[in-house]
Assembly symmetry: C2
Homo-oligomer: 418 residues x 2
C-alpha cells in the first residue's frame, strides 16, 4: 500500500473514533492548540523564515509572498481564531428539522461529521491551523496537503496541532499531513474515494480544473473571485468611496477583494477621479474601459483595459473600471464576468437594491457593504475552510455547520407504511 493510502486508511479509522468522542474532549484539544500557538512560536517562525528565504530566491510574486508570511501578530491572530472556535457550540449531534408527522412518526435530523476531509493548499500557512481546528470542532478527520513553498511552515504548524491532540488524548491520526503534493500524488488522492469523503482544493483555477477533471471524490471548489461593486446613480458618493477603498485595498491578495468597479454614467465624472485619487494614493493601478479612460485621461496610474482584464481576479492592487448606463448594464456585465463569488451594489434606491439581490446569483450579494465581508468569521459562521463558488452543499464561506452532514432519525411505535 502506498504512503498516501496508508495515511488515508489511518484518517478513516480516526474519523470513526472522532465522530463518537464527547464534544468536551475536542474542545479541550482546541484550547490546547490555541495555547500552543502562543507558547511554541519559535519553531514555527523559524520554519516560516526558511520558507520566505527560499521564496525570495525563487523570486515568487508579491501576492504569494504576502500570503506566505507568518509573524507574531499573525500567530497571535491564529491563536485567537482557534480559541474562538473552541468556544463555539459544538455542532455534532445537534437536532434540527424536528417534527411529528400526521401518522404519529417522530422525525428529526441530526448533525454528524462529513468524515474525512482532504484539503490541498494555497500558500497561506495559517490554513493548516484553520482547517485542523475547524475539523476538530466538527469531528472530521483531515488530510492536509501543504504546498511546496510553505512546506516548512506547514510541517511546523502540523506538529503543533498533533501535540495539542495528544494532550487531549486524541489519536494523531485525526490530522494527517501530506509532505508534498505533486500532481501524481494529487491524482492518487483524487481516486481515494474509500478513505476520503470530500476534497477541497484551495488555489488557482488550474488546480480546481485538475480536481474537477480527475476526482472520483466529491470536490468543493471556490476561492476564485472576480468581484464587482456597482455604484448606482443614487449612491452616497463619499460613503461609496469608503466601501470601494475597503473592498480593494484592505487585503488585496484574497478572493473577496474587489476586481471591477462599475459606475453609473451620471456619477462617473465626479466619482471616478475621486476613486483614482484615493485608491491611487494607496498604490492601486487601474484598467479602464473607454468611457472611464476618457474621464481619467492623462493619469499615469490608469491604463486602457484590454482583452481579459474584466475576467481577471487581480489578487493585487489593480482595479478594473467601467462606466455603465445604469442597473441593466451593470447586471449584464456581472452576469457575463462574475465568478459568482462576491458582488455588490451601492445605492439609496430600495427598488434597485431589490432587483440586484433578486437577479445577481452570486454566493454573496452585498448591498451597501464591502465585498470583504464574504468571509466565514466576518459572517459569524465560526471561521471557514473555503469559500465555495459551486452550487451544491455550500455556497460562499464553508463554516462549521457546512462542514457537517446529517442523518434522519425516525421513531414510531412499530409503525408500518400503509
Amino acid at each position: 500500500m502506498s504512503t498516501l493510502r496508508l495515511l488515508g486508511a489511518a484518517a478513516r479509522a480516526a474519523a470513526r473514533t472522532l465522530a463518537l468522542l464527547p464534544a468536551a474532549q475536542r474542545t479541550q484539544a482546541l484550547h490546547a492548540l490555541a495555547a500552543a500557538l502562543r507558547t511554541q512560536q519559535q519553531p514555527v517562525l523559524a520554519a516560516n523564515a526558511a520558507d520566505q528565504a527560499a521564496a525570495r530566491t525563487a523570486n515568487i510574486s508579491e501576492p504569494l509572498a504576502e500570503r506566505l508570511l507568518l509573524n507574531e501578530q499573525r500567530l497571535a491572530a491564529m491563536a485567537a481564531d482557534v480559541a474562538a472556535i473552541a468556544n463555539l457550540p459544538d455542532p455534532i449531534g445537534e437536532i434540527f428539522d424536528e417534527r411529528t408527522l400526521p401518522n404519529g412518526l417522530q422525525v428529526h435530523r441530526q448533525r454528524v461529521p462529513i468524515g474525512v476531509l482532504g484539503v490541498v493548499y494555497e500558500s497561506r500557512p495559517n490554513v493548516t491551523i484553520d482547517v485542523a481546528a475547524l475539523c476538530l470542532r466538527t469531528g472530521n478527520a483531515a488530510i492536509l496537503c501543504g504546498r511546496s513553498e510553505a512546506l516548512r511552515s506547514h510541517l511546523a504548524l502540523g506538529a503543533v496541532g498533533r501535540s495539542a491532540l495528544a494532550s487531549a488524548g486524541i489519536a494523531g491520526g485525526a490530522i494527517q499531513l501530506v509532505e508534498s503534493t505533486d500532481r501524481a500524488q494529487l491524482l492518487e488522492l483524487l481516486q481515494m474515494h474509500d478513505c476520503l469523503d470530500l476534497l477541497i482544493p484551495r488555489g488557482g483555477n488550474a488546480l480546481h480544473e485538475f480536481c474537477r477533471e480527475h476526482s472520483r471524490v466529491p470536490v468543493i471548489t471556490g476561492g476564485v473571485g472576480v468581484c464587482h461593486l456597482y455604484v448606482d446613480a443614487s449612491a452616497n458618493q463619499a460613503a461609496a468611496l469608503d466601501v470601494i477603498y475597503n473592498s480593494k485595498v484592505q487585503r488585496p491578495s484574497v478572493c473577496n477583494a474587489l476586481d471591477t468597479l462599475l459606475v453609473d454614467a451620471a456619477l462617473a465624472p465626479a466619482l471616478l477621479p475621486a476613486v483614482v485619487a484615493r485608491l491611487g494614493a494607496a498604490g492601486v493601478a487601474f484598467r479602464a474601459d473607454p468611457a472611464a479612460h476618457a474621464l481619467l485621461a492623462g493619469n499615469p496610474a490608469v491604463r486602457a483595459a484590454t482583452g481579459a482584464d474584466f475576467d481577471t481576479e487581480w489578487l493585487a492592487l489593480v482595479l478594473g473600471l467601467r462606466v455603465v448606463s445604469g442597473l441593466d448594464e451593470a447586471l449584464a456585465h456581472i452576469a457575463q464576468h462574475s465568478t459568482a463569488h462576491s458582488d455588490g451594489i451601492l445605492t439609496q434606491t430600495a427598488a434597485h437594491a431589490a432587483r440586484f439581490v433578486a437577479e445577481v446569483d452570486s454566493a454573496g450579494v452585498f448591498v451597501n457593504a464591502s465585498t470583504r465581508f464574504n468571509d466565514g468569521a466576518q459572517l459569524g459562521l465560526g471561521g471557514e475552510t473555503a469559500v465555495s463558488t459551486q452550487r451544491l452543499h455550500v455556497r460562499g464561506p464553508m463554516g462549521i455547520n457546512e462542514m457537517t452532514t446529517y442523518k434522519t432519525v425516525v421513531r414510531g411505535n412499530y409503525a408500518v407504511r400503509a
Copy 2:
C-alpha cells in the same frame, strides 16, 4: 454542436428564465400537469403497453417488469403526487438564517434553484413526471434521460409535461428529454459542466460507479440500499413481525425494502420460525446464516447464506437472516454490510435505541418503524428526486428544499471591514 450540447444550452437558457418566474406561474403549470395526467392517459398507457411487450420479449427480470408497469391507478397516483407538489409552498426566494451581526450588518440566506439538473433513469417511467414536477416547483430546468426499456413511456409522459408547461406560458426548454442514453452519450453529458449543475444517476451500482469515475459535473448517487432491521431482545415480537413484514413485502423492488434481518439470539428460536411462516406465505425466500439455518432446518424456503448474500440488495422477495449475540454484534454487522441507506432497530430498551441512533451512521435510522418510510413523500419532504447515500448536500430523500441552493445577502450602511 452535438444534439446533446444544443439541448444542454437550451436547458441553461431556460433555467435562467425559470429562476426569475413568479411562483404562481410554476404552480399553474403543475396543476395543468396533474390535470393532463388524468385526461391524457390513453397515449401514455399505449406507449407503456408497447414498452412492456418489448420487455417481455427481451425476457427482463420480474423486479424490472414491476418497475416498468404503468396503469390507470399508477397514473392517478402520479397526478395526485403532482397536485400535492403544486400545493406545496414554493421554496424559491425563501429567506432563512436571518440575523443581525454585532457590527449592524443584516445577513440572511435566500433559496435559489440549483440550475440545470440531469437525471439518468432506472426503468420506472413515473420518474419522468416526478422529476419534472419537482424541478418545476423548485425553478430548476431538467435534462431527463430515459432508459431504453421505458423509452416509449418516457417520451409519452414528457410530451404531457411539455404541453402543461406551454399551457402556463413556460418555454418547453425547461424540460429536455434525451431520447436514448447509451454510455457514449452519458459520457458526453458527464463532461457538460457548463450547462449542467448536477447529475443524478438513478439505477444500479454500475451506473453510479461509471458516473463517479467519469463525471466533471457534481453527482448525487444513491438508491442502492442494503437495509437492515435488528430485533433487540426486548422487542414486542408480534409488533416486530408486522414491521418486518411491511419492510420486506410491501414493495420489494425498491431501495428502502429490507434486505437483512438481524435477530437477538434470545428471540431467535421463537421469532425466526414466525418470520419464515408469515413472510414465506407471501412468497419470500430466505438466506440464513448457520445459527438461523439450524433453527429453521428443513424449511424449503430457507437456504444457507453464501458469500455475498449479506452484501446484496435483493430488490425482490428474498431476505437474509442472521442471529446475533446482541446489540454490539448487530452494530458490527451493519457497519460492515450496510450501504448507509436505511437501517433500524426494534426494541423496548431506550438505551439500546439511543446507542443504535448514535452509532449507526446511515442516511435514515429507524426506531420501531419500517425502513419503507425512508421516502421523501412519506417523510413530508414533498416527494423526492433520489435517495442519496452520499454525504454532501443531501443524505436520504432529496425533497424540494434539497433541490435548491442559496445565496447569502448582506446589507449594511456603506459598511467597511475593520
